[in-house]
Structure formats: C-alpha cells, structure tokens
Symmetry: C2
Subunit: 306 residues, 2 copies
Amino acid sequence: MTKTDYDLVIIGAGPAGLTAGIYAARARMNVLLLEKAVPGGQILVTDWIENYPGFPEGISGYDLSEKMKIQAEELGLKIETAEVHSLNLSKELKEIILKDRSITTKSLIIASGASPRNIGIGEDKFMGKGVSFCATCDAPFFRDKTVVAIGGGDTAVQEAIFLTKFAKKVYLIHRRDELRATKILQERAFKNKKLEIIWDSVATGLEGFFGVEGVKVKNVKTNEEKTLKADGCFIWIGILPNTSFLNDAVKTDEFGFISVDTTMQASVPGVYAAGDVRDTPLRQISTAVGDAAIAAVSAEHFIENL
Amino acid sequence: MTKTDYDLVIIGAGPAGLTAGIYAARARMNVLLLEKAVPGGQILVTDWIENYPGFPEGISGYDLSEKMKIQAEELGLKIETAEVHSLNLSKELKEIILKDRSITTKSLIIASGASPRNIGIGEDKFMGKGVSFCATCDAPFFRDKTVVAIGGGDTAVQEAIFLTKFAKKVYLIHRRDELRATKILQERAFKNKKLEIIWDSVATGLEGFFGVEGVKVKNVKTNEEKTLKADGCFIWIGILPNTSFLNDAVKTDEFGFISVDTTMQASVPGVYAAGDVRDTPLRQISTAVGDAAIAAVSAEHFIENL
C-alpha cells in the first residue's frame, strides 16, 4: 500500500492511550501518540487510586500517569502535543488533520476519553478535593461522612444507594418532584434510611476552603436557598465523549461513544477505540488498560495483514 | 431470596480473580475467593513483566501477584485454599461443591485461567527461563538472539513472524510438510529471511543449565535427531481453559472458553467469567484486570437488583 507517515497513530494520553503506546512501541511499530494537553487524562484530577491492581498502598493519579508515561517513552513511544482537528478515514490511507499539518497512518486508536458534564457550580476547583463523578472509585473515601449526590437517573440513584454503604448520610438532590430511575431502584432509595432526597432542587454552589465543606441548594419552586453541610459532592448528570474531531468518521452509540467489536475495532477497518471514549459498560483505569492492550494488538495484526 | 453464605464467590486468584476481589471487597460485598494452589496464576511463572502499565522498570510476576494479593486482602478480601469440584447453577441460589463441603452464593465470577497445552519435553522446568507461550509478552527479551518456535497454525506462524522483529534467527518447527496457517501468513513466512521452517519435525527435548540453550528436534520421516542451538523456545500448540469443574454449567465456545456478553455475564444470570478462561481475543494481565473490574461491578449490580 501507499507509504504512510506512521503504522499507528494514537489519539489521547490517558491510561488507554499510554497502554496502547506501551504495546505498540514494544511491538516495534512505527507509532505516534498525539495528546492535546498533558499526558494523564482524567486520572490527573484523581486524587487517590485504590483499585488499580498492583498498588497495595494506593497511588495518586498524577504518579500513576507519570509511571505509565515513562514506561511508554522508555519503550520508545513518541508523544507529541497536538490537537486533532478532524479525521479523514474514507480511504485506506487514514488522514489525521492537525492545526498546522496533516499526517497519514495505516491504523488509528482513538483513546481521547470522556468528560463528566459540568453543572457549573465551580466543581473544577474541587476536583479530587471532595467532588467526584464516580462512586465505584471514590465512595470508600467517604466512610462515616456526609455527602451530597446530584442527579435523578438510574446511575445517580444506584450510585447514591451505593454511597450509603460508606457515608453516614447521603443527600440526593433532584430537580423534579419524582425520579427518572427505574421503579425497583426508587423503592430501594425510598426505603434507605441513610438516603434523603431533596426534591425540586438544584445545586447552585460549592463551599469550602481546602475541600468541599458544603453544597448550596436552591428549591426551584420556592426559590428558597440553603447550604447542606457535606464532605463530598458526587455529580451524575451525564458523561460526554471527547470526540469533537470525530464528526461521523466512525459509528457511535446514541450518546456519541464509539461503537466497537470485541477486538476494539470501530466501524472503519483499522480504526480502534479504547477506554472511556468507547461504548463500555464501565469506565475505570483497569478497563481502559484492558481495552487498549486489545486495540494495540488488533492494530498490529491489521497492519500485518494489509 | 434465600439466605446464602456469600454474595459473591470468585474462583481463581490470578490477576483476574484478585482484581475482582479488590473491586468486590472495596464495594463491601460479602465475598470469598477460592484458589486451589497459591495466588498468582500463570504470572507466577512469568519471569519479568514489561507491559503491565504502571511499572516503568518492569516487575517480576511473583512481585506483581504479591502486590495484587496484599491489595485485595488489605481491602478485606477473604482468600481460601480450596479446589472447586463442581458447580450447581440450575437454581437461583448457586452452589459450589468443594471436596469436603458445599457453599452457596448469589453470584459467581469464574477466573480460573487457562494453561498452555504441554508437549512434554520438560518445558515446565524452563518456564520463565527461556520457554514462553506468548510472543507479545516475551519477544522483546530475545533481541538479537536465536529462538525456536513450535507449531504450525495461524497463531504459531503469526507469532514466529513477530519474533523476527527482535530475534536474529527464528526456527519454526512443524510436524508436517505444509503449514495449516492462512495463505497470506504462509507467503510472509516464506519470504522472511530470518525465519527458517524445519519441516516434518517435532521437538523432543530442551537443553540448558540455567535456561534454554538448545532444542532437540527429530525428523519424523527420517528419524534423524539434531539439536538447534537457541536461547529461547516459544510453544504454540494450543491453550486450554482451566474448567475441569465446569461440566456444562455455562455455555462455552468450541474450545471450552466461557462465552460472555459485554458485561462479562455467562449464559447463566449472575455468573460471570473474566481473564484467560473467557472467550477473549487477547490473554494479558491488562485484559484480565479490565475484564475482572467489569465482572465485579456487574455482579454487584446483579445482586442489588435481586
């Protein structure tokens, strides 16, 4: 086939992108990783990680991403800071359009991650300091504490119930006078003595100095405002794939996450997705790492068979 | 539902089982992990691991499995040494039959791993000392060395070609006078100058003191024997799931690996499989860890909705 700049280009340097890089570099592929900001992805704003296997004492998000980055670079991975503008995947030779130039590649792994939808109550300031978007990740850090949870869908209610296993008190703030979650979850929520639902309300701000100390809440019917004293705030109002460059280059599910088969291949041969950006049932470092190993080996086999 | 001994039982303490244990214990599930031998699984016989993300200097299989085990136990996981004899999954309450008793559980994660098929040339003695079953894992350790590869199917030929990226010379030993691999792979193998196919031959023994130094080879037509000097021996004559206890309790693929959906659920609700024992496209620590996180969170949701 036509000569390309690279065998493989990886978009994104979170755990998925770096793992794909580790595998591809180690397999001696001609590979480039593009990251628009700094390597690490969402784990950079993760204060402490207890559930990535291999670190019995836990590890900070920063340290873990540094370790992964060093490992990838020592194996020969080239990481470049550049934002992907768009993709042209209609031909066998895949084109990646950056701001100032375009590069060609035989295969592509999209590992650009996802971002929690923001409410805009200053949650950025408290990331890893009391604000969390993942109960599976962070609930155990709130043992015997008081937390506020925001949302009303299945995830929010399920995760709020999960939080009651740890926290002594969980407030669930919901903007309407009934939940959207399935009946069985609602029943369980209503029966749970540690869980109090604050109806018809929205969060309007976060209070605290070093970390979250309280959540400001406004009743949308009465306009009454109050502050709930809390050590943490879990926000589940949705997660969005980081795919501004994607347009319709590959198929996605209804929420915009990239659809893949069991080999992590997207709807275009030679294009793979791994980690939070794909249509996965769980978004964890562990799963990102697993996806990415599969994607990299699949890309390697794809190129061998061109 | 009826009271059970456990919410979740995990079978196997390799990376998949320990990761499932980390997630389940951290979610405060009433969980037990059963391991018939010592925790670690196949990674115990893995000398050095370079591609599990988070360890830039690499880590020995023993150390990594110790770290995972300590992490799981510190989070509260109970590990018991016991061999599973059989399963009774026909009722809602799942029964696990051990040698001396049976235990009941609401959900089950099978993470019992897989074992490479043995040729019986003393490969056990050289595990992690020159004998390998995984080129993706170990090929980079044989840079500019000579290696012998055994097998003739797609995997063997593909992996032998991959080895030539690192080794200066690769002998592929095949018992017939033609390969079973697909045509395109065969053509590539024949063109590869570093790859020499030893036809009509079988390996009959390994030589070496601290590690592999040579592989004894017999021509099955002429009965002639010779020793190929080599630093390593890769064996790809198949991998078998460790499922002697399974009978037909859940559906498997044609090779006996457990079939799962995207949530890692097997054909019986509440029963999951993770890692090498499932029908996965890749068998790595990274993928075992990813599968297991999904399986554990799926089991947790399953129980919450009982």
